[in-house]
């Protein structure tokens, strides 16, 4: 009973021994989606039972005639042997089925699946090398991407089991870049216009500014005195109240109101009257208001339409006599304020103009220097090119042609010259 049959015993001698050793390498990776070039296959062990070693009873029955029945004594021995064969055949059926499906799948989708195969030892090194370089490539790829498209990275990692390191890198880098530091970019964007080269446009802008200063210096053109704001406001108020009714009507009403209300004499009238009064202590105007009879002059004032009319008439008369200077007529306090501001503006504008002109001259100078500088830069690139050529020639131990040498010297001299001009500027 204790006889141990091992259905795993290989009947295939050397070949099966080879398979057996390969079997140990069987792992998930060998089935991973490597490219077809890296196909490494060893094939499944298809078990059979060694008849001479394990199937004694079976063999003895075979040795007999086909018609001779099996004896009852054989039965107990035959059964285990048949069972071993049975199990073996069943396993073979399963293995083959799996292999056929794998092959069919491989045909349908070549790169994806391959037969349930084992990595062969002699190919293993090559494979792992390839895998190493691949993972390196992946790493650099990931760096370049810097977690920009995380999805594609992760999907790639899904199909590629090559390196766990690769799996981690994108995750980490993407985590780090989330709080993006934008300050340096902002700083350079801010500083850039101050540090860049001066262009012709900049000079034109400066000249425009100088012209603006000139107009300031020319002084402010003060428009003539318009209507008093109160008149304007009264008109606007009425306009609003009455809606958009007739304009002429409104102005008429205002005039009417003025005749009714403005009985107070104007400043000229007051001055004149006070000058003519004998006793200034007696306020003639209060008397005028309270009792018109006691003030015979004013009560008998000629019938002018309004006090304003009277004021105007009085002014004309006084001017004609020569008591009033007609030129100074619009010299009110607003006017003096405007004049004062104008003077200040003129001073500032003059200073600005001075500075701007200085700036323009400096900018023009700088532009000339820029020109030289750009020429120097061009020559420098030429020079590095020549240097590269000469070092290459040296490495190859080749003599430079005379023409090339001359050219190099020429460029060097030109550069020196330009540097000098830049200094002297």
């Amino acid at each position: 009973m204790k006889t141990k049959y091992s259905s795993k015993k290989e009947s295939k001698g050397k070949d099966s021994a080879n398979y057996q050793s390969n079997g140990k390498h069987k792992d998930g990776r060998s089935q991973s989606s490597e490219t077809t070039e890296e196909f490494d296959f060893a094939f499944p062990i298809l078990q059979t039972v060694d008849r001479t070693r394990h199937l004694h009873c079976y063999s003895s029955i075979l040795a007999r005639s086909k018609d001779e029945p099996v004896t009852m004594e054989d039965l107990d021995r035959l059964q285990p042997e048949l069972e071993v064969m049975f199990s073996c055949a069943a396993i073979r059926v399963r293995t083959l089925k799996a292999e056929i499906t794998a092959l069919t799948n491989a045909e349908e989708n070549k790169a994806e699946i391959k037969p349930v195969s084992l990595v062969m030892s002699q190919k293993k090194r090559k494979l792992s090398d390839a895998r190493f370089t691949k993972s390196l490539k992946d790493l650099s790829k990931v760096r370049n991407r810097d977690g920009l498209n995380k999805d594609s990275v992760s999907s790639e990692n899904d199909t590629d089991n090559s390196g766990d390191v690769v799996n981690e890198t994108p995750a980490e880098s993407s985590k780090v870049t989330i709080p993006k530091n934008d300050t340096p970019n902002k700083f350079w964007a801010y500083v850039e216009p101050y540090a860049k080269d001066i262009t012709k446009e900049n000079i034109k802008d400066l000249e425009d500014l100088v012209a603006a200063c000139d107009t300031d210096l020319g002084g402010v053109n003060i428009p003539p005195l318009g209507r008093h704001y109160s008149a304007n406001w009264a008109e606007e108020d009425l306009n609003q109240e009455r809606g958009s009714s007739d304009k002429a009507e409104i102005s008429g009403m205002i005039k009417k109101a003025a005749t009714l209300c403005e009985r107070t004499p104007g400043p000229l009238v007051q001055r004149l009257v006070s000058a003519l009064m004998e006793d200034p202590s007696n306020d003639s105007f209060s008397k005028l208001d309270s009792d018109s009879d006691s003030c015979p002059y004013l009560s008998k004032l000629p019938l002018f339409h309004t006090t304003a009319c009277f004021e105007r008439r009085l002014k004309r008369e006084l001017e004609a006599v020569g008591f009033l200077d007609g030129e100074n007529d619009d010299n009110d306090e607003i006017m003096t304020e405007i004049k004062k501001c104008e003077e200040e503006l003129k001073i500032v504008a003059g200073q600005n103009k001075e500075q701007l002109e200085l700036l323009i001259s400096k900018a023009k100078y700088e532009m000339k220097r820029q020109e030289v500088k750009s020429r120097i830069r061009a020559i420098e690139t030429e020079l590095t090119e020549v240097y590269r050529k000469t070092t290459a020639a040296k490495l190859k131990k080749k003599q430079l042609k005379k023409k090339e040498k001359d050219q190099a010297w020429k460029i060097l001299k030109k550069r020196e010259q330009l540097l000098k001009t830049l200094e002297n500027m």
Partner: protein, 287 residues
Amino acid sequence: MASYFENAAIQERLKTLSSLVHEIEGERLKGEQTLDHITKAHDKINQEGRLTSYNQQKLKGLYNTALSDAVQEEELLRQALTKIMEIRNICNERKLKARSEGNREIFHRGALMKMLQVSAQTLPLWVGKADSKAPPLCGAIPADPNYIAKPGDMVAAMVKIVEGDEDNWILAEVVSFNPVTRKYEVDDIDEEQKLRHTLSRRLVVPLPIMKANPETDPDALFPKGAVVMALYPQTTCFYKALVNQLPTSVLDDYELIFEDSNYADGYAPPLKVAQRYVIDIKERKKS
């Protein structure tokens, strides 16, 4: 008369078996040839270092041939094993009939143990088609809750030992089942006890009637570390044990570690026990 017919039936089956064996050999040789071709093809592909589509097609063809060979061989082997099972069933029936007539075979202890071993070993092997699950009473798969063991079936039965006043799971053979009382009559397998027990269903656990194939149906085996009840070798009683190692082939047995107070650490050294005598018994309540 009856015995004549039975003998004839057995003889006929033995003859069929013989011819089946020859057929199997034919298939086997054919299959071996195909496998040889496959090996050669494998070697060639390995030498070339790559799998061309031509080779792939060739390989697929070979695999298909080998598959049909194997299927054919499997089928013949299944038939042969069925024949053997039939023969055994006829023998068992004859034995049962003889017993009911009062002709009970008397085994002495050594013969009994031998008989138990052989019957475990010759338990039919269950090999399902691919993707089919092992049926109840195959290996570790328990019986259906409504399953009734047939007369002559081996069971584990919980009986009271008269002297010791303690419970014991013993190996027994079903005599009958009374559907009214829902109780089994079982015979202690140990002739010396000569006891017949009447037990309720829950105290009778049928033993597997089929072996599970560790190579195709490892699911139908107890896992390593499982606590089971198993027949202690050279006894007819079941004891608690731990699965130490699973059988690796159809002919292999479990390796179990029994609880044994005779040993200093409380466990016996690993012992081999056939699939048939390893069962799952729920820990009974200590009432």
